[in-house]
Amino acid sequence: MYDFDYHKPTTVADAVALLAADPDAKAVSGGHTLIPALKHRLNKPTSLVDLSGIAEMKGIKQVGNAIVIGAFTRHVEVATSALVKSTIPALAYLASHIGDNQVRNRGTIGGSVSNNDPAADYPSAVLGLGATIHTSSRKIPADEFFLGMFTTAMEPDELLVAIEFPIPEKAGYAKMKNPASRYVMAGAFVSKGPAGVRVAINGAAACVFRQAEMEAALAANWSPEAVAGIKQPADDMNSDIHGSAEYRAHLVTVMAKRAVAAAG
């Protein structure tokens, strides 16, 4: 790992100022993606801006009919939150199945969503629940946030501060994970609520996406059978040593069925 300067600001404004002042600075949250990347020398930031000291980026609260989760909230906190478990149990379930215990003790929701790894779990919940991303400068709807592989609508000196999840009537998540890496091969987050019926697919393609055909079918008939016959085209699916595009396309339907069944 190349060396870097280290900063630990205590406010979002100070963190943004540090990032704006140096185009080669990087924000670090739980570090469970960035630190391995730095070890492989895939990235060479001049400085790291550690977000762990910023109180306004932490915590889980209910605001009206939404759950607002601070960006620097670790996976274990979402997984074990009584508030999340009682209002959006599918989100707590998702968080409790990211990586392993040690990863969940470090990784954060803001880090995962900002990174937008195609095989990450959280982006499917953000898109599948129609969440709103609160950044240091604006609010971005989930539908406009995820732009492509490892790419979001945020600017380099913009920080994800919190995510606002509308409380759904029903929601469910199912994934097929690679048994070695534990990353998602294909996953589906489904919900029915204030944001309508939504089906978000992660892991299968370069970026999380909504499956419109399944959404229409579930809007008419909320049941696993409604999506069972819908085939995801294999054209844009990922294909690698872990699974072909056709296999992932098949998994999309299976995971959507399971997610609807889990939602009840």
Binding site: M1, Y2, D3, F4, D5, Y6, K8, V28, G31, H32, I35, P36, L38, K39, S47, L48, D50, S52, V76, G99, D100, N101, Q102, V103, N105, R106, S181, R182
Partner: protein
């Protein structure tokens, strides 16, 4: 260079590190606590697991500067001052839960955290799933799971010793 002040196994240390120094490097190279191992170095294998403020984490994927002010427990800090083994260590010995021993420090630290977080008790399946972040290439996990099952009985005061649990 940044200065890190932390408590390791009850003893306070103030150490100068680089920004890039990993917690496991601080422990092994600066404090000479070499019980914490580096296996894969890619946060998969769990040989480097230690506790920071009561939570297990992979010290190969944690910057030393990130634990400034924290309390760290390593495998060296589990046994009592008189050398009496922690029930988890005793159970690993009793059940022959290791062969080469390389993964053992991380296994024990993960297992202690897992059991502490589940006072209601863990089923065999929950123990297996709880070890998802630790790889062992010799034992096939079977005796590790048995040892953790026995240790949880002792740690939660349901049995007096792991030997009694073995009978």
């Amino acid at each position: 260079m940044p200065q890190v002040t932390l408590t390791v196994n009850g003893k306070q240390h103030s150490v100068e590190v680089e920004g890039r120094t990993l917690l496991v490097e601080l422990l092994r190279e600066k404090l000479r606590l070499t019980g914490t191992h580096v296996g894969c170095d890619t946060s998969q294998c769990g040989a480097c697991v230690v506790h920071v403020d009561g939570n297990s984490l992979k010290s190969c994927t944690t910057l030393a500067v990130a634990v400034d002010g924290c309390s760290v427990t390593t495998i060296e800090g589990l046994a009592a001052a008189d050398g009496t083994l922690h029930p988890m260590q005793e159970a690993f010995r009793e059940y022959h839960a290791l062969q080469c021993g390389f993964c053992t420090p991380g296994m024990v630290m993960s297992a202690v955290d897992l059991v502490q977080k589940h006072p209601e008790g863990l089923s065999e399946q929950e123990i297996r799933e709880g070890l998802e972040g630790n790889l062992c290439r010799c034992t096939g996990y079977h005796n590790i799971v048995k040892a953790i099952d026995a240790a949880q009985e002792v740690m939660h005061g349901r049995r007096a010793s792991v030997a009694a649990a073995a009978e």
